[in-house]
Amino acid sequence: MTEVDKGGTSASATQTATEVGGLADPGPDTVIDVRDLHMRYGTNDVLKGVTFSAERGEVLALLGPNGAGKTTTIEILEGFRMRSGGSVSVLGTDPAHGNESWRARLGIVLQSWRDHGKWRVRELLHHLGSFYTPYSTEAIRRPWNTDELIEAVGLSEHADKRVMRLSGGQRRRLDVAIGIVGKPEVLFLDEPTAGFDPHARREFHDLVHRLADENITVLLTTHDLDEAEKLADRILVLAGGRIIADGSADALSRMVSTKAEVRWSIGTERHVHSTDDATTFVRRLLTEHGSAVQDLEVRRASLEDTYMKLVYGMESGLAGDEDAAQVFFGREEQVTVAAEPHGRDIDEEGAR
């Protein structure tokens, strides 16, 4: 087996090991531990056994089609919604029975609308922050100093504005500021950048990176795959009521396909070739054509390709009431998919 393939296999193997490990007792650094989570609305099973965990300081992105249960999952973890079954632990506490001192360690970024429109930015942050003072500890001073926080989210110029006078992007930054004013240990972000312009999005990403550097565990949902890839250490794909994939963007793309795409041009001719072993192929290509090879590019399947393949491949493979996750979820199958030697025969014709 080539090196690239080995890489792919070991990534999947590690991932499988983590999942198996997740079924044992959570370690001291496990901040979120969800096992076999079920949620049923009436006769409709939205979650059919969701299992994942997050370590301290990890950034997790939860992806999935509309209606897959991302928001439901997050709301159960926030303690805002009662689950139908399974076990959930956030910071060592069952969210269904979380008390106020547990809540003080949580940050929730809510989508704002018109609330607190008459309050001024500084006044509102100071007010909401004041609720956290009794929960200050030696290690974590709560709440965040109001002016430092305003500075951190880039609202200094608008600190004395009424909330209703803020632009959409500024308001969203205020939402984030409210979410983190209590110096949370876990932060939940439900579609944080919906409606952001590219600049605001970039600033928001920088902010999340800074938070992750401070050892805050972040769980976010998004429809923006590019964002998930940029922000998250680990990506969870929720579909058909289960987590059908769990790993880094890279591991996920290997899970679906081990092929890489090689593009180059010789003279005015452009070439594209898909291969399992890009290294060997490129070496051969260069040996054969030398410096005539221009614009050389090697690309793995993008997260978007992977996601489409995972989610829609799975959905279209479903017959009637067939259990969605069975098709793609079986752990052995995951490994098999990743290790399956797709087109091992290197297409030498492509090199011409």
Binding site: T71, T72, I74, E75, E78, F80, R81, E100, S101, R103, A104, L106, I108, L110, Q111, S112, W113, R114, D115, H116, G117, K118, W119, E123, H127, L128, S130, F131, Y132, T133, P134, Y135, I178, G182, D190
Partner: protein, 283 residues
């Protein structure tokens, strides 16, 4: 300081901040002043006609009833409307996401409600004292009566307002609340003596706080002789305290239950659903 103490203090500051915001916002002030101004103008023009058989002007006789109604509306409508609005716009959810935030929110609401009640009464009372001849408060006793009727009225009506507010999450349902309330005002002897109405209507009116608040205000502001036109020819303090007391007990038992139920159901997706509903209406 413990967490509840901190939340109470934060709630008090919240209440004061909201009062300041109301007093410094043009549209808010306008809505506070609108009804009292109209009332005062009407009373002013009625100053020369007197109640048949007395020398009390119709304006002066109706003033206390209006004061009682103002207090009842501040408790019932003010509290329920703000709960519905702040549930829809996500204020409550934010409070829920903060430790002891709901408690602080409620403390703030009580402060704002009490201020609104007192303001609603004084805003009619004080100009009335200057504008209406024969309408005056002569004794300390009258002020004291006014104060305890106000306090009792707010304690009785604010929990009912909270109960009404917790039952609906749609501010556009406020009309469903206003309609029966206005009906109740019509039969509660606010603008004319209740004894002019049929017995069964009087019975219904006496089940609710508006009549008793009006009666309490009249007992404070009108000469004792005016009690003659009341039911039983007296101010009936015992019955007044009895009926308002029952409402207080009912409110203090059920309001926390309903508020807890309401708070438990708040989540990001419920607020998002309300926003979508409201935006659909706008389009």
């Amino acid at each position: 300081m413990n967490a509840s103490g901190v939340a109470i203090r934060a709630g008090i500051r919240r209440g004061l901040a909201e009062i300041r915001q109301m007093l410094t916002s043009g549209p808010d002030l306008l809505s506070v002043l609108f009804f009292p101004t109209i009332t005062l103008i009407v009373m002013y023009f009625l100053r020369d006609s007197t109640l048949p058989g007395t020398d009390i002007s119709v304006g002066s006789a109706a003033m206390p009833g209006v004061l009682g109604m103002q207090v009842a509306f501040a408790g019932l409508v003010g509290v329920s409307a703000s709960l519905m609005v702040e549930r829809e716009d996500g204020t409550l959810l934010r409070a829920k996401a903060v430790p002891n935030g709901m408690f602080g929110y409620l403390v703030g609401k009580i402060i704002v409600g009490a201020f609104d009640g007192a303001l609603a009464m004084l805003i009619v009372l004080i100009p009335g004292l200057f504008l209406l001849d024969g309408f005056r408060i002569e004794s300390l006793n009258a002020w004291l009566t006014l104060a305890w009727v106000l306090a009792l009225g707010l304690i009785a009506t604010m929990p009912i307002g909270a109960m009404i507010g917790s039952l609906s999450d749609n501010p556009r349902n406020m009309g469903l609340v206003m309609l029966p309330l206005l009906g109740l005002v019509a039969i509660s002897g606010v603008f004319y003596p209740i004894t002019a109405l049929p017995g069964w209507v009087q019975f219904i009116a006496q089940l609710f706080p508006i009549y008793w608040l009006g009666l309490g205000m009249r007992s404070a502001l009108l000469p004792d002789a005016a009690a003659a036109v009341e039911i039983g020819g007296s101010w009936r303090y015992a019955e007044m305290i009895g009926v308002l007391g029952v409402w207080i007990v009912v409110g203090l038992i059920f309001a926390p239950i309903l508020l807890r139920r309401m708070a438990r159901r708040e989540s990001g997706s419920t607020v998002a659903a309300r926003r979508d509903r409201a935006l659909q209406r706008v389009q």
